[in-house]
Amino acid sequence: MMLRKTTTKTNRYALAISPRVARVLSVLSIGSLWAWFFLKFYLTAESTWLMRAVGELALLGVGGSMILFATQYLNQAYGEDHEIDERERSARDRAYRVALNYVLWVFVLTFVTLEVAGARDVPKATGSAIGFPAVISKGVVENFLVVLFFTTFALPPAILAWWDRGESDEG
């Protein structure tokens, strides 16, 4: 992994990593963020060493997302229209569409889960918490937003990495 100029028109510096590494990083970061959210949701405070281990997952997820964001896929995913060519714009637009679908599905599944949980005989909403197998506190909502933010943030570069054939510029 090294700092290198991208091949886009702006010639910005970005972390040069292979598409394969970027793919692994994307699965690790997005996967560990969701794993952190669900494990933290169901773990009790008594298992401190486990809580610490789960906390490491969050660090891995956030760190992985940040690294992914600093790679050569940054320009293509978040660059201005004039900074990338027409094929890159087309790929970026498709990646955005996938990212939008992801966010919409997360919202739909969250809504359905809350509705299903609400239909069951679980404790009713009390104060800032609502009924669920575990109480949904402000912290849980914050964790959910952190996961949603970082995974959505990392998704367009991750998708572009998955579509990258990793071919040489020469030939």
């Binding site: 990338i84 060519d85 094929r87 890159e88 071919e167 510029d169 020469e170």
Partner: protein, 81 residues
């Protein structure tokens, strides 16, 4: 859409990078175009034709191009007295 970009590029002795710079795209885009994985806009097709010194219809076609060997064979046959 089918194209002969690779053929014309090789004939002109241009690397992907050089052609990409000439038409103002990422070098990877030339690879996508040559493989037929991406169909260019009219503007890019015209720029490619200009740089490669060919007409657009010589570079791009909706139907597959006949192979070079077939074309040369046909030319040789027509020239035979």
């Amino acid at each position: 859409m089918h194209n002969r970009i690779a053929l014309f590029r090789a004939e002109r002795g241009l690397s992907r990078k050089a052609l990409a710079e000439a038409v103002d795209v990422n070098p990877q885009t030339i690879g996508f175009l040559e493989r037929g994985d991406y169909s260019p806009s009219v503007e890019l097709a015209l720029r490619l034709a200009q740089v490669l010194g060919a007409r657009v219809e010589m570079l791009f076609a909706l139907d597959p191009f006949p192979s070079l060997a077939d074309q040369l064979g046909a030319t040789a046959e027509s020239e035979t007295p």
